[in-house]
Amino acid sequence: MTAAAVARATATRLAAADAAGLNATLHWSESLLDAEAARVDAMPAAGPLAAMPIALKDNIVTVQAPTTCGSRILEGYVSPYDATAVQRLRSAGALMAAKANMDEFAMGSSTEHSAYGRVKHPMDPSRVPGGSSGGSAALVAAGVVPAALGSETGGSVRQPASFCGVVGVKPSYGRVSRFGLVAFGSSLDCISVFGRTVDHAARVLSAMSGHDPLDSTTLDRPPMAVPAALPDLEGLRIGLPREYFPADLHPGVAAGMERVKQAIRELGAELVEVSLPNSKFAVPTYYIVAPAEAAANLARYDGVRYGPRKVGPGGDIRDVYQTTRGEGFGPEVQRRILIGTYVLSAGYYDAYYRKAQRTRARIADDFRRAFTGGVDLLLTPTTPTPAFRAGEKTEDPVSMYLADIFVCAISLAGLPALSIPVGRSEGLPVGAQIIAPFCEDERMLAAAGAVERVVAATEEVR
């Protein structure tokens, strides 16, 4: 099949998703898709992602389409350069199909905080797809594209992958360049991948991984290999952290976890209980560290370097800053900038930020101890519940933040982790999370491929 034919079929599916009111895309056009297809069809050899259409979360920059980050403050902005990840995917033969809707500046767990409207869950429009990469997740779940890029700061790919019933992979921090990913929390941000299958996600990750001189936090090691799914899990010890299996876990999620534990045992792995005692502090730690970094990173949106500029009543430069930011940022972004500024301000730095940094170190130490103690991988639920209803948590930020309770700690520790679908609870997908030691992304994907092969991911759990 030529890339031109793939592009036409992709355009038909994108149009159908838009017509169905999914609201998962922010920018795409048939002319851009045709141009991408012409480029791929002219390549002298088919790359490893030959003509695979890929959607991009709208915080990953491209020269051809606007990048808004789901925010009014970047309305009309078009980057003068491409993200390294985009360049590498193009070189591998992929088609950049669409820019996907997202929570504004990747701040949210439901994709209800986009300035361009909420994204609907593809299986139940009254529910959220998760967030912040909800547009990318919905496009893969709806069958529009086989893979999509999202970004993770505190679980923003694994959580929506779980809600939407697709695979979501966060690589080790530093394996994929952040050059061209709009910064939110720089010590946490990772370009991550949604795939229809583990193999789709692994191929995309492999193509865009590797050292980048334009991002000094990338690891100086070769690109990731695409691992084959393991035939079985004989000889592996997989840890079950007791803190991730609370008594009040949603019954559907608990049943999904029983299903995947049984499958893993049948594949030959040994399951052992472990403890990660500081993970209970991950969400409060995250909601100090991430807003603090965000307050600094988002200072650049001031109406001077990026439009649209709003001039306040005083007409001077400070009015420009304050009015542009006050009118350009939505409520969740404003909240996080205020919290981040507060915890970094004189008199509060030690009480909040320093304490959060210390706790982050303890959380990372827990994982190190578990892995050096003889466990190869860890298994947890990805989320405490299946997808919740739209509007259910928007007025209570803390309740929304707790949707990320099982994914945050891994981001703080910089580890690789993924979510795979393991069943449905009353029709809604349930995901399981596999966590690996730092830079053992390939081993994690190979094990996940084995689990994916045997778990009945679309069947109800009992």
């Binding site: 409060p284 307050a295 007409g315 930020p397 520790a413 580890l415």
Partner: protein, 99 residues
Amino acid sequence: MSIGRDDVIHVAKLAELAVKDEDLTRLVDQLNRIVDYVAQLDQVPADGTSDLFLPGPDQVALRPDVPGSVPLARPPAAMAPEFADGFFLVPRHGAMEDL
């Protein structure tokens, strides 16, 4: 610690963020809920671990010390609200000195 109306106004000024009067009550309530929630970090012992953890490479890989630039598809003038003679244009400084 609790956050009052004046604290929100002060922090908003530090953050260069115009906050509407009608939003202040909601912001005070929501920020207090967040601060109350993160206060559970007081339970974390202060000893036994280093103060700082950052993921990623132990050492930053150095690139050749050769000046270079990322080729831009369009110049800064095309992105900025106002740009002339190589400069971003802004309104007069005015109250900047009051900081």
